[in-house]
Amino acid sequence: MFDTSENTMWNSKKEEAEEISVNELRTMLLTLRRSRTATFGFIYVITIIAIAILSPVISPFDPYVQNLSKRLEPPSFPHVLGLDEFGRDVFSRLINGATISLLVGLEVVLLALLIGVVVGTVSGYYGGKVDMIFMRIADVFLAFPSLVLAIGIMAVVGPSIFNVVLSLAVVTWPHYARVIRSQTITLKKMDFITAAIAMGASKKRILITHIIPNTVPPVIVLATLGMGSAILAEAGLSFLGLGVTPPTPSWGSMIASGRDYILQAPHVVIAPGLMITITVLAFNLLGDGLRDALDPRLRG
Amino acid sequence: MRLLNKDNVLLEVKNLKTYIETSAGLVKAVDDVSFNIKKGEIVGLVGESGCGKTMVALSIMRLLPEPHAKIIDGNIYFNGLDILKLSEDEMRSIRGNKISIVFQDPLTALNPIMTVGEQIVEAILSHQQLDKKEAWRRAIQLLRIVGIADGNVIVNQYPFRLSGGMRQRVMIAIALACNPVLLIADEPTTNLDVSIQAQILELIYNIRNTSGTSVLLITHNLGLVAWLCDKVYVMYAGKIVEEGPCENIFVNPSHPYTKLLLRSIPDVSFVREKLETIEGEVPNLIKVPKGCRFNPRCPHVRDCCKKVEPDLIEVSANHYARCLMWDSTFNVEWR
């Protein structure tokens, strides 16, 4: 059995590694507070998530109820953002659309991260043939402009929320895998990994307990920025009729159907587009702030 | 009061204060530093990393990383002219021209996508009216001066293809391009092999001897200083703690810090029992200790050291130390 004094040295290196991760997260949050734009992003994101979760409760009107006698009414009280081409309340549809968009975004990001983290860490850590095969596959996917491949897939499988999530995840995971692979390769060379190997830990154990937890900070940045991209992508697909199907409210399909009436009732097109822009902007500002907070060179 | 023969003085730094704003607080990197360099003199500025030496060099060149670092107070007289009061345009005509600087890491200090020749020629043409052919000829000549014989080949190489020693010679060639009267060398040999170090130092020595160029050598290595310098200033925690002619400093080190620095030079010429180190950590330049700044690490510390901050006190002719041991009021403590 190991001499206990050696044990403590290796253990303290392991604690050092865990501390790195925790400290990084803490520093991230503190540095974040200093940026005005990142704070705005953070507040907005929290707000819109709350709105999305509470949508059934706070939605002033039912987003599906039509009122054909009052089609395309401009904004006025109580319909603060007016009515769409079927007489539905735009504001309520926006709120419910938030739920859809955020949900789709979240699912895409989580699924793509799941695949990306597994492929990236395994590829980066084991190297060799495994790495080559995985990265070749990723390269093939990356050879397509992402949305073009997603459009192609959706054209073949047909529009539905499930398919949207799947196709977007399929085109997104290679980007994540590459980033995480780089991170893994950097981590692999660090002392605490050598220490763990010397202690007899199996490769699988090292991956799970040491490598993956230390990819959390860049993963958080990827996830935040990824939400913005996913929301834009879903809006685009829905706009083309390849995403969320009516009557489910999606910001993208709202723009598509409102397009024919843009002259008479511009609010039907402008409102959802503004929502997309500001929401994506907020996620990007937050993600940027998190990325800067992570960058060791920019920390004081 | 010390009197300077003004005719002979090339550079006079008076009560220089350079502070840096950081997220952790205000760093007093250079805190009331005064020194002078005479014409043709090689002056050493010695101290540990982080004691403010590089900030002194950047202050003289007015190349401080703005907006966080600023010269708060003091004057810098170059040939009698206060260069801190010059406009940026006027200062630019001095940089690389009358005063040149060589930095520590020659790989990162050279532009990676320009050939070595292009960078030397750029230095030449920035202050001199020559046609391109002449400039390139001069560049090859400069390379020969710094010890690179096949200059006409090297001139077309990119920095990444040259060895560390060659790159540093190129940096010196760039610095000499316009025949400066003052050459500042900031840790010029730290990243180089020991054998190359000697060659570079000899080069600097020869430059002074042939052209009369004054040199400010900034380093943490007292060994280099002994070899090369006429006069030495020892810096600690943003202040000069000892100054004097080189011989005096080495024969009669008067500040405890200088003594410790001398003892910790690795010297293979005789066997010692253990390698001496200086206890404690590099001082915090944001929260400086009360009294003498060296008191937390000083092996001779007394109570008075923690309360009174010493001035530079005369030890012998032109030799001063910032230590209460030499102060007539306090030196009883050490009897």
Partner: protein, 308 residues
């Protein structure tokens, strides 16, 4: 240098193969009987005709043989036939691809013309109000859905101000709004990238050396900093070209611009699968080729790569 080019070309071959495999997989996954899909959805077609068509199209063969046949046809430039018109898909693509490329190139030029100077100004004046404004503005541009921007532009400039045509193709005027809609987001991205790159480069030692030589600020920025910044910027432009091509799908639809994107979207509505696949194939191969070109340019301008 030549060795580098050959190596890159060799590495591109498996990628081309992979792309063709994915498009083939998409092709065989289309819903419905593939024969009917290929020869048209006429329900009165006789069963014998269907069978003979099946044999003709090689659809009775095992999958890997079908793939080989597909690859063969591909290399001969046969991308199948447009279900609606019966014309070879290649012809449809050859008519529309140049229009899309025109739009893509003008958008790229617009994005570079705005993006690089904006990035430089923003980096030079870091911490100032100008920097804040440009930073947020560029991110805003990159967060806007291009199809929405297109609609807003039409609303303002075509309907309200009556300055520019709503849709179509032909004169340079027809290109203005689509270029702004497509290039806007890219302008934002290029601004941000130029800015962050320059900021990183400015902090490096060789910039300090350049200043120590007594060079003017303008020279330091343009000759030393920018020249180093161009290298990663060019790489990013290559990658972003894919986003441009994808964006063209949306912008062309809104402006009824006769490009490859509009062709594809119409084909989707018509379930004209050969056209869809042809477009995806051509767009992806173009993307790969452009990135190959960028890699070669990159090797040429970065001496560190040239001498490897």
């Amino acid at each position: 240098m030549l060795a580098y080019i050959i190596k890159r070309l060799a590495l591109a071959v498996p990628v081309f193969l992979g792309v063709s495999i994915i498009v083939f997989v998409l092709m065989v996954s289309t819903p419905g009987d593939p024969v009917l899909v290929r020869i048209g959805l006429d329900p009165n077609v006789s069963p014998e005709k269907v069978e003979s068509a099946r044999r003709e199209l090689g659809l009775d063969q095992p999958i890997h043989i079908q793939y080989i046949k597909f690859l063969e046809k591909l290399l001969q430039g046969d991308l199948g036939y447009n279900i609606r018109t019966g014309r070879p898909v290649v012809l449809d693509i050859m008519e529309t691809l140049p229009n899309t490329m025109t739009l893509a190139v003008t958008s790229l030029l617009l994005a570079i013309t705005i993006g690089i100077p904006a990035g430089i100004i923003s980096a030079k004046k870091q911490y100032s109000k100008v920097d804040d404004f440009v930073s947020v503005g560029s991110l805003l541009a990159a967060s806007m859905p291009n199809f929405w921007l297109a609609l807003v532009l039409i609303l303002v400039f075509s309907y309200w101000l009556k300055l520019l045509p709503i849709s179509g193709y032909g004169t340079p005027l027809h290109l203005i709004l689509p270029t702004i809609a497509l290039g806007g987001a890219l302008a934002g991205t290029i601004t941000r990238f130029t800015r962050s790159n320059l900021l990183e480069i400015i902090r490096q030692d060789f910039i300090r050396t350049a200043k120590a030589k007594g060079l003017k600020d303008r020279v330091v920025i343009f000759k030393h900093a920018l020249k180093n910044a161009y290298i990663p910027i060019i790489t990013v432009i290559g990658l972003q070209f894919g986003t441009l091509l994808a964006g063209a799908f949306f912008v062309e639809v809104v402006f009824a611009y006769p490009g490859i994107g509009r062709l594809a979207v119409q084909a989707i509505l018509q379930k004209n699968y050969p056209v869809i696949q042809g477009v995806i194939l051509v767009v992806s191969i173009s993307f790969v080729l452009i990135n190959l070109l960028i890699d070669i340019i990159y090797a040429y301008i970065d001496p560190r790569v040239r001498y490897e």
